[in-house]
């Protein structure tokens, strides 16, 4: 699944470790989600959306 995490993170000048700390997950997890290799669960997707003050659809898209 494609996502805009890298862009959203860059806008806030957060490193992967910064985002991981805010999400209470490991940096590996953030990297796996950001690179599209791991799709987060709905609760984690909601957490991301709340953190970036946007909607899940604005972060993730199911286009190939």
């Amino acid at each position: 699944m494609k996502n805009r995490l890298r862009v959203l993170r860059a806008e806030r000048e957060w490193s992967q470790a910064d985002l991981a700390e805010r999400l209470e997950v490991s940096r590996q997890s953030v990297n796996a989600i950001e690179t599209g290799k791991y799709d987060p669960s709905l609760p984690l997707a909601f957490k991301l959306a709340r953190l970036f003050e946007t909607t899940i659809e604005a972060i993730f898209s199911d286009e190939k």
Binding site: E24, V25, P40
Partner: protein, 134 residues
């Protein structure tokens, strides 16, 4: 699963794992000493023979607890995948070994080795899995 110690669930896992390993070493030592010096029979012999297996079974429970307590869903995912690889690796090794035993009379695989084969297969899979999701 994460190998660093800044994860509370992983820290608890490694602590509990150490306890099970120490219990295993102690129970194995007790079983060996009692069998050599007292030659127990009947129910006591069976109970003592099974004793060292209990901490090893506990290792599975400890890993189950880790999966239950781990808040990071990606790490849980890696843990479950590693367990599946562990089971798969064990089935592959024991199946191939079984046929080798049947057809080319390879030395009999002691069932006591099945458990280490599982953990080794699982251990090998973790860095591979983590590299896959890098």
């Amino acid at each position: 699963m994460e190998c660093t110690t800044n994860n509370p669930a992983a820290r608890r896992y490694y602590r509990r794992l150490l306890v099970t390993l120490l219990l295993y070493a102690a129970s194995l030592a007790v079983a060996i000493v009692v069998f050599i010096h007292f030659r127990p029979t009947g129910v006591l012999a069976y109970a003592l023979a099974v004793l060292p297996a209990l901490p090893l079974i506990g290792m599975l429970a400890v890993f189950g607890l880790y999966l239950d307590e781990e808040k990071d869903e990606f790490q849980r995912f890696i843990g479950v995948q590693a367990m599946l690889w562990g089971i798969g690796g064990t089935l592959v090794v024991t199946t191939i070994w079984g046929f080798l035993e049947s057809f080319v009379h390879l030395r009999h695989l002691d069932p006591i080795l099945v458990f280490p084969i599982f953990w080794v297969s699982m251990g090998i899979s973790i860095p591979i899995l983590l590299a896959r999701y890098k």
